[in-house]
Subunit: 163 residues, 2 copies
DNA sequence: TCTAATGTCTACTAATTCAATAAAGTATAT
DNA sequence: ATATACTTTATTGAATTAGTAGACATTAGA
């Protein structure tokens, strides 16, 4: 029942990009994104690349470039991201809705294991397909404000005031 | 969010041992247990060994020997088994109740990812720690009877009537 | 125009986990 | 005795996970 680092890093990156957007930052470099939690830069880069191909983020290249969300946060469901990076939500293939495949039991209709795992997959999907990135970003920012934690990305990378 | 073959085989074996017990079979050999679904015998043997060390099953050795449940089915929760064979239920270590460990975020109290994953872990645990082997065996057997599917292990291995 | 910062893309690899196999040994019913 | 079955430890092959490396393209600003 495990989320891989890949899925984890993807979600962390998206959440941070979401906060950045809310705070008015146009885009964020990978190094800034990974710096907060000391994540492996090149690995996260790969993951962001994948998110870009899937249409969740886009980039601006060159100096002072970076990544940014290119889809409304409310339309990015956590479940989609987990499926994209880590595969189906169901613990066992025969319980998957989006990637069904037979498994080893001889008779699915009378398989107790499948029955339980279908329940589990539905419970997971009910959470992950309901929560959107917008929900998470909102709650996170609210908590940070309440506890007076400074929001990340608050000050633009290049002393924006000037000019 | 994946259950490994190890966890899967363990649960299948326990469910089958549960049915066997209900049907009056004293014990079942590994080959009989794996035969139903063509599972790898030696691998399942290892898993049963582990279940034995953990006190869920016991064995009778020698000819006509085999495995049997040595704990009331109602006291075997599915969650315990999954944890034993596959590790914590939580998708991410910082969301685990039984095996908590810090993860990469700098501030857990304000981590959106953790928040979601705690929900997911609770949803999973609510199912797997509530269902017992007895529940699953009961439902499975009821369905099989309803649909007139012959129950496995119905006839004892050696023509028991004699003697 | 030059340079530093940044994303792009492909290839490679190290580590870990998963899934299984092998084999020599022990116990027991008949 | 002997066939059947569990016991135990070692080994291995395959897949997945998690990352590294490096050459290249693009852009901002001095």
């Amino acid at each position: 029942m495990h989320l891989t680092k890949k899925g984890e890093y993807a979600l962390r990156a998206l959440i941070n990009l979401g906060i950045a957007k809310e705070v008015g930052r146009e885009h964020v470099s990978v190094s800034e994104l990974t710096g907060l939690s000391q994540l492996p830069l090149k690995y996260v880069e790969q993951i962001l690349h994948q998110l870009r191909l899937a249409g969740y983020v886009d980039t601006r290249r060159g100096k002072y470039g970076g990544y940014f969300l290119c889809k409304p946060m409310s339309q990015i469901k956590i479940g989609e991201i987990v499926r994209l990076l880590d595969g189906p939500l169901a613990p066992i293939s025969c319980a998957s809705q989006t990637a069904y495949a037979r498994c080893s039991c001889p008779d699915e209709a009378h398989c107790g294991l499948r029955m339980v795992m279908v329940d589990v997959r539905n419970a997971i999907a009910n959470i992950l397909d309901r929560y959107s990135l917008a929900d998470i970003v909102e709650v996170t920012m609210r908590k940070m404000r309440r506890d007076k934690i400074p929001l990340p990305f608050s000050k633009p990378e290049r002393a924006a005031g000037r000019a």
